[in-house]
Subunit: 406 residues, 2 copies
């Protein structure tokens, strides 16, 4: 008897997390090896409440093609941490539900918290002798997963950041009769990959953004003010890019100098306001016109700057996951191995999910230059090929036509 497939999405959305879903669903739906292909609604949390849909219906009604270019998690997401103890009653409960739905293949698309789920489920499966094949697919705009060259979702977010910073820089330059500082706050709690991508916005040597600060290097407000003053001498309308997570190197985020912060369900500090804090600092210490711009959620949900490379790779990771599961693989995450940067060549690989979950890959320190205020060529060589190629998003009445669950 053929087994069924189930796919889930977890963690924060990206512009191509549905590309991965599309990749898994298309590959599984065209295979004769499976019976049904299900999608969990709101990840493992929804599945525990018996909420799932049949992906074939989406193929039949045309939504599957639309999903490909729909940002955010079509199936819905969750932030649900499975208990550390595999003796918890949720594990037999879940595997009874898998058995009831005749699930033989479980695919989970997410970041390192989601890989924690893949790790626990595959370890529990091994413990009870279940033959369900459990695989993770990477997803995060933060690009902070280890054991992979990069993650789907990062490149489109990086392209959004670089495009938007380039536009903000020309917007900032229209009045040349007075000096100004624009501070752009970019997502990235502990890893500065996205803020680093703002360097791609430079059109020529000496162009904006002139200063870029990442969480990887301790942020010194005095050195920052000094660098801004120096930069203003040659660039009257200065653009500075910062990660939301810039910190003093001792565990205190710069935004915490200004205001209280909360924590999310995983205990992560919820950040806001590093840009606003620096805006006030520049206003008080230098006295020039200053504004801060928070790029906010569009970094992860804009469909306007989809990288074709990113979307193609997300879809490929899905197809590769299905093929790997059919070949008997389990407890692994699909990863990207870079063969070369020029010309850009990438291939899919499988890595032990236990080596990935709950770890974070930060920007190498030797890719950060000028005492932590700029990004070097090694990053540009790394990131440039990832943002190549555009994707035409279907339009209706002048606006992007997205799939959504009815």
């Amino acid at each position: 008897m053929k087994k069924n497939v189930i796919i889930g999405q977890s963690g924060g959305p990206t512009a191509v997390i549905n590309g991965s879903l599309y990749g898994v669903a298309c590959e599984a739906l065209k295979s004769a090896d499976f019976d049904h292909v299900y999608g969990m609604e709101n990840g493992i949390e929804g599945f525990l409440n018996d909420k799932f849909i049949d992906m074939k219906e989406l193929k039949d009604n045309g939504d599957l093609e639309l999903i490909k270019t729909t940002p955010s998690s079509y199936l819905g997401s969750c932030r649900f941490k499975l208990p550390e103890s595999l003796s918890d009653k949720v594990y037999p409960e879940l595997f009874e539900k898998f058995a009831k739905q005749n699930i033989g293949y479980f695919f989970y698309i997410g970041g390192n918290d989601s890989m924690d789920t893949v790790s626990k489920l595959s370890r529990y499966a091994a413990q009870i002798g279940s033959d369900i094949r459990i695989l993770g697919l990477p997803k995060t705009i933060d690009n902070d997963l280890v054991e992979t060259d990069h993650t789907p979702g990062f490149a489109s977010a990086a392209k959004y950041v670089a495009t938007t910073v380039r536009e903000i820089a020309i917007d900032a330059s229209v009045y040349d009769n007075k000096k100004s500082v624009t501070i752009v706050e970019i997502m990235g709690r502990h890893a500065g990959w996205l803020a680093a991508s703002s360097v791609l916005a430079r059109k020529f040597e000496g162009d904006n953004p002139a200063l870029i600060y990442l969480p990887e290097v301790a942020f010194d407000p005095d050195a920052f003010i000094s660098s801004v003053e120096t930069a203003l001498e040659t660039i009257p309308n200065l653009v500075v890019c910062i990660s939301e997570g810039i910190n003093d190197g001792q565990g205190t985020f710069i935004c915490e100098l200004a205001s209280d912060v909360g924590v999310d369900t995983f205990g992560h500090k919820m950040l806001t306001g590093s840009g606003k804090y620096l805006e006030n600092l520049v206003k008080n210490r230098i006295g020039v016109k200053v504004r801060s711009v928070e790029l906010n959620v569009s970094q992860r949900c804009s469909s306007s700057c989809l990288s074709k490379t990113d979307l193609d790779e997300a879809i490929a990771s899905g197809a590769f996951a299905v093929q790997s599961a059919l070949a008997g693989k389990t407890g692994l995450m699909v990863a990207f191995d870079r063969i070369s940067s020029q010309p850009y060549q990438m291939e899919c690989a499988l890595k032990d999910v236990n080596m990935i979950c709950n770890r974070e890959k930060t920007v190498p320190l030797d890719w950060i230059t000028k005492d932590g205020s700029d990004i070097g060529d090694a990053f540009i060589t790394y990131a440039s090929p990832l943002i190549m190629g555009d994707v035409a998003v279907p339009k209706k009445d002048g606006l992007p036509h997205f799939a959504y669950r009815k």
Copy 2:
């Protein structure tokens, strides 16, 4: 002896203000009626400092074609208010400079402050018997100029707002297990045209954004909280759109309830933080998860959501201005008369600039529904045709390729 043409840009940038520049420059450069075609750097203020460039050089080096899809003011802008008294010495100074450069035609692209410049220069020209023809071209994302159906720049900004709000709404909907409120703050000081455009993001009846607030109707925080509570009953992940300029109807902006504000050089209050204020209000009064997103400068400088209708009209307004000047017209602004909405037909017209400057067109009150918390069908009929059609922006290395002054 042939006369020269000079073009300037003034006020805040838009995504298609360079489309108007392109329209004037192309039409003037292909005509045998003119000698040089100049562009003022940083508007009238730069011209007073003898800063201008020869537009033919841009045609020759290929930048003119790139300008068409480059957002923000290529020539640079200014916020320079000419003195009220036409006896001020700046007027003879300017006209001496016009004479020195053999200027016969003066085109100024801007909003109502810029039309004030056109008004004063044309009145002074009449007073001294100058035959320089002085015409204004409309530009503003705010869409607040009177005597014209709409203004170039509004439609692309509206398309950006509707696209981004639709994306934010699907981003907000991925976690369905708890209620949330997302407040989107949209540009618009006294006129709510852009915030109203967020209604175009709705994919179906009852979709987000469920509540929309404009400056045209007095904002009542208690009624707002009550509407949010009611809406949350059917829409667990609620998106609310507000104009930055929502106010109590008595002259106090909502953001002023939270913090001090400054004024710009025209004495306009500089706003920030209405969204942040309402975020805190919802947190304290309702206690659900809440965030605020400020769409910020990308509304006026993003090239990602260019409306082809908008860009075509901006270019057409430039060509029409040149033809009108050649026909002897002066002291007028190019305006758009709508012939019909379905099918959409527009034609260029000329209006007395004195009737336009320093006035503001707000959203008609009968287009605002549900006690000021929603937008009616009349607005949708008005705005829908304006956002139609996409524009392919030239790309280089995966990013938009913009023209810039070297």
